[in-house]
């Protein structure tokens, strides 16, 4: 299937400061595409350029329309009709109610009254704000604000939804709810691009992830592909009741262990031979008469991949 969006040698700078340079990648229709990068790496710039709010110094962004590719910057009105954007900060009127906000932005997309009404009802249901529809937006909680922001971005049934840090400043429960919402939206056929620095969430929800580093998207792939590219190791997480230091010291000498990291009370062992390493660890724990609180063996997370990328 041809891609929905193509980034072609995109370069964007503010004054002399280069934020994006020669960015090239594609986004497929119907996927959830995650963009990961350090704070200040240019994620928001990338997204704002995609929506046409910023214009690049060089390069272009093409979108698929009627069996051809058109430039985002030469068809700004069409792009605005097709794409929806939910910003990191709330982007609606605090002094209007939820329903009024949706109705207002629907009008800005030139939707008819009946269409606005229908879409509003559906979206309120989708984001779970039906009972709060007459509430002023300024009285909403953080999670509700995010949902309202997403709803405002969807009022015109866009084919592409762009989300900038949708779960920032949310507690874990709300974050999970938000991701469930995003997945639900994606299931309706909307392509989603999400920018975030919360690696675990992207890893869980995204079909593909692009890593933004050094002004460019340096890696793109599924989470597993990325993990496979950056490390063959797996990780074993061990938490015992007492003698962490002794275990760490003893296992440090093991030839099966590539490296050990301490995360609070948890020892994380990185190993290319997880089975043999596991046996060694269990044996040592037994010898020390320690009690195992938790033990887990898994592939390394994106966090480790991310850190290893940034350490290069």
């Amino acid at each position: 299937m041809p891609p929905l969006i193509q980034f072609k040698n995109l370069t964007k700078q503010f004054g002399k400061k280069v934020v994006l340079q020669d960015v090239n990648f594609e986004i497929n229709k119907g996927e959830i595409f995650g963009i990961i990068g350090m704070s200040g790496s240019g994620k928001t710039t990338l997204l704002n350029t995609l929506i046409g709010f910023l214009e690049p110094e060089e390069g272009d962004i093409l979108y698929s329309s009627e069996n051809q590719y058109k430039s985002v910057f030469k068809n700004s009105m069409d792009v605005r009709r097709r794409f929806g954007f939910a910003t990191q900060e709330p982007s609606f009127y605090p002094k209007l109610t939820i329903e009024e906000n949706l109705d207002h932005f629907g009008a800005l997309y030139n939707l008819s009254k009946s269409t606005r009404k229908n879409n509003t009802e559906k979206l309120l249901k989708l984001v779970g704000l039906e009972s709060e529809k007459d509430q002023l937006a300024q009285t909403l909680s953080g999670g509700m604000e995010k949902r309202l922001g997403i709803a405002c971005s969807l009022i015109h049934n866009p084919e592409l939804l762009i989300l900038d840090e949708p779960t920032a400043n949310l507690d874990p429960v709300l974050r999970e709810e938000t991701w469930n919402l995003i997945k639900g939206i994606n299931k309706t056929g909307t392509t989603v691009i999400v920018a975030s620095h919360l690696l675990e969430e992207l890893e869980d929800a995204c079909d593909r992830i692009g890593i933004l580093h050094d002004h460019a998207v340096i890696e793109i792939g599924t989470p597993d592909q990325l993990k496979g590219r950056y490390t063959k190791n797996e990780e074993i997480r061990l938490r015992v009741s007492g003698k962490h230091d002794q275990i760490e010291k003893a296992m440090g000498k093991s030839s099966y262990i590539e490296s050990i990291k301490k995360e609070g009370d948890t020892l994380v062992f990185y190993t290319a031979m997880p089975l043999k390493a596991l046996y060694q660890i269990l044996d040592l724990v037994d010898k020390l008469n320690e009690r195992i609180v938790s033990l887990e063996a898994s592939k390394p997370s994106l966090k480790e991949i991310f850190e290893s990328v940034y350490q290069r």
């Binding site: 200040g40 605005r80 605090p94 009008a107 997309y109």
Partner: protein
């Protein structure tokens, strides 16, 4: 259109839901018109506090003070000039008048009344001076009138007396002349008498001699004649007797005439004396007549001069030229006269501040970014802000005009079509000014400050603070293009003078031209703001993140 209406409705909802904004929008104009109506709905003259000082108050001074008090001015006597001046500085008095000691009207006496005023009260000082000067001038005119009337009466009396004196002089002259003539005649008579006496004597002598020659001739003739000697002798004897008689008569006559001559000579001398004296008297009388002629000439001259005085009315002399103020419009209260200025003032500040506020509200709204990523054009947002402002200002104007008309009977609702057009153009222009300020400035405080500054500049370069005519020429030339001045002038012409649209065309077109230019600036500003906003938001976030370096 639907989108435009939706945005306008959104703007109204946001304004109304902000309690402070709603309060100001509704109560603001009510407060303005209430205060203005109370302050200006009258034609009272200014109430002034006047201080007076004099080392000695004469009746004349008191009459001046009474004149001032007749006009409801509060006049108080102060104990010293210095105190009086200090009271002006403290604001307790508007002016201080120093009268000379024991003010009276005397010849060769100069009476000077001194005014002390506070020039720093620019809008009041000239009115104070003019009002008080006119009151004092009134009293001065009354005094002049009395003096002039007195003078005219005396002139009239003089003229009458002169006229009455003239016949007397004429009579005197005539009598003098008669005397002169009589004396002349007497002198002539005396001369004739003397002449006649001599002539008589000579005549008699001639006659006697004639008679003697006749006698002689007759004797000769008789001798020669053929008469008898007796006859001849008798005739000759008689002739000789006649001759003797004549000779004797001649002798007597000569003797008498000698006597007469002496007497006549003596008489002549006496007559000469008399004649001299009479001549002297005659000369005196002639001289007297000459002087009488001079007196008469002077009297005539005086009389003619006095008669040539054409203006004999004292009031006309004291006030040869009177002035009358005739207002070009029907007499109304201050509110009606000031209403055009007040309305434009309200429109200006409300339009500029409100439109700036609307733009700043939108710029600082969280939804501002979302507006930019919708397919609604910039011009729709601009028009929505403009129309929101126009509707709001019109609502406020309706409140102001309604209350003015109902409570204060201000006659404003005349020439409605042209008035509405003027108001619309003025509101449009000032709305655009406010919108530009909103787009240019980033913070609400600076935008508000800029709005007030711009409004103040428009206000200062107008007739409201000082008359434009009192400003330098180059400032006046600039002020003519001040939209506040244009709007006020248009409204005044339409409301007070009932001018039609053709008379207002030029200024309306100028306002329209301003509005078009301002609209273009707004459109360009909106595009610049969009670009600047995007760059600023992203770059600030980028810089912030770079500083934190949070993974």
């Amino acid at each position: 259109m639907q989108t435009l209406i939706k945005i306008i409705k959104k703007n109204f909802k946001l304004l109304i839901r902000s309690k402070s904004s709603a309060l100001i929008i509704i109560l603001g104009p009510l407060l303005v018109i209430f205060l203005v109506g109370i302050a200006f709905d009258n034609l009272n003259k200014y109430s002034l506090n006047i201080g007076t000082y004099s080392e000695g108050y004469s009746d004349l001074t008191e009459s001046f003070i009474t004149k001032l008090q007749e006009n409801n001015f509060k006049v108080q006597k102060v104990d010293s000039e210095e105190n009086c001046v200090n009271m002006i500085k403290q604001g307790k008095l508007n002016t201080c008048i120093t009268f000379p000691k024991d003010l009276t009207l005397e010849s060769d006496k100069v009476n000077e009344i001194v005014f002390h005023v506070d020039n720093s009260k620019i809008n009041l000082v000239w009115m104070v001076l003019e009002t008080i000067s006119s009151k004092l001038a009134e009293r001065s005119s009354e005094l002049s009138l009395d003096l002039t009337t007195d003078l005219l009466n005396k002139v009239d009396f003089t003229k009458t007396e002169l006229y009455a004196t003239r016949p007397t002089i004429v009579n005197l002259k005539t009598e003098n002349q008669q005397g002169v003539d009589a004396i002349g005649a007497a002198i002539d008579n005396m001369g004739e008498l003397r002449t006649k006496t001599s002539e008589l004597k000579d005549s008699l002598l001639q006659k006697i001699e004639g008679a003697e020659s006749v006698v002689s001739e007759t004797s000769t003739k008789i001798n020669k004649s053929n008469m008898t000697s007796t006859d001849k002798s008798s005739l000759i004897t008689k002739l000789n007797e006649i001759g003797t008689y004549l000779y004797n008569m001649k002798g007597k006559l000569e003797a008498q005439s000698n006597t007469s001559v002496a007497e006549i000579t003596q008489m002549e001398n006496v007559l000469n004396d008399i004649g001299l004296k009479l001549n002297s008297i005659k000369s005196g009388l002639l001289s007297s007549n000459a002087k009488l002629n001079e007196v008469q000439a002077s009297i005539d001259k005086i009389y003619n001069e006095v008669s040539t005085i054409q203006i004999t009315n004292a009031t006309t002399i004291v006030n040869p030229i009177t002035t009358r103020i005739k207002p070009v419009a029907t007499e109304k209260s201050y509110l009606n006269y000031l209403f055009p200025s007040l309305v434009i003032l309200v429109i200006m500040f409300i339009s500029i501040l409100l439109s700036t506020t609307l733009v700043m509200m939108e710029k600082h709204s969280p939804a501002y970014f979302r507006n930019f990523i919708t397919p609604t054009r910039d011009i729709t947002f601009i028009l929505a802000t403009y129309l929101t402002n126009v509707i709001l200002v019109f609502v406020q104007l309706i409140i102001i005009l309604g209350i003015s008309t109902y409570f204060f009977k201000a006659q404003i609702l005349t020439a409605i079509p042209s008035t509405l057009l003027i108001l619309l153009f003025t509101i449009t222009l000032f709305t655009f000014v406010g919108m530009i300020i909103g787009y240019i400035f980033t913070s609400e405080e600076t935008a508000t400050l800029a709005s007030i500054s711009i409004g103040s500049i428009f206000l200062f370069l107008s007739n409201v603070i000082l008359p434009l005519e009192s400003m330098p020429a180059y400032i006046r030339n600039i002020a003519e293009f001040n939209p506040f001045v244009l709007g006020e002038s248009l409204l005044r012409k339409a409301v007070i003078f009932q001018a039609g649209l053709p008379a207002l065309q030029k200024e309306l077109l100028l306002l329209l031209a301003y509005s078009v230019v301002l609209f273009l600036i707004i459109w360009l500003s909106q595009r610049a703001v969009r670009k600047h906003l995007g760059h600023r938001l992203i770059y600030m976030r980028y810089k912030k993140a770079q500083k934190k370096k949070v993974p």
